[in-house]
Symmetry: C2
Subunit: 129 residues, 2 copies
């Protein structure tokens, strides 16, 4: 299964120039090229790109994402170093989850406020059920 950059863009919900950028900086493996010099991506590229984009949307830097990719590829440094990297990411993830749950509660509070401020016009509460 071979994808053009446009197809990959749609699959991974990631803009074409961004994909080129990721390839240029090395976080996404270089694509092979057709005889017309067009990029040819594989399913593995697609999965990698999904990981990158989701992690970016969650606030991880590209540097952090690179670390994760290395670890997922089984490229472990010394046990202690990999351990501290994984541990650090895990702590970060759990902090983000906690913070997002707080934010969720705040947004639900806003729903209530929105309902109270414009009872006749606001469909917030019914829409959330």
């Amino acid at each position: 299964m071979i994808y053009s950059i446009g197809q990959l863009s749609k699959l991974a919900q990631c803009k074409i120039p961004t994909i080129r950028y990721y390839e240029e900086i090395g976080i996404l493996d270089k694509a092979t090229r057709s005889t017309g010099n067009q990029r040819q991506y594989t399913q593995a590229h697609c999965e990698r790109l999904n990981l990158i984009c989701h992690s970016r949307a969650l606030g991880f830097s590209l540097k952090e994402i690179k670390q994760l990719i290395k670890l997922q590829n089984g490229q472990f440094d010394s046990g202690q170093k990999s351990h501290s990297i994984v541990q650090s990411h895990l702590t970060d993830v759990r902090n983000k989850i906690a913070k997002l749950k707080e934010l969720e509660l705040q947004l639900l509070t806003l729903v209530e406020q929105c309902h109270q401020s414009e009872t006749s016009d606001c469909l917030c509460v019914s829409a959330l059920k």
Copy 2:
């Protein structure tokens, strides 16, 4: 309770130039100034800054954060518009939570792999208990 920019920086875990940047673009209210022209921040500033920094760390853009702040200040547009903004953010938050939980699982898998690849040197498993 009045804070200098350095104090606020420590409280909110946010760099001084970033605080200045946020004030300049208007996402953080302007501080009053001392007779020596130094910024004087309040507890309210501190709470606002916490919201901004946490939201940034979670991958929200400053534009999105501005929207949230407006809503929290009770500045509602028409009911339909505020509803769709809140709904959109709530959906985003829930998606991020789901994605983070996936990532957490992946990291826990990495813990196992790390353990298997370097059993004698790796303290991952015991450290997580």
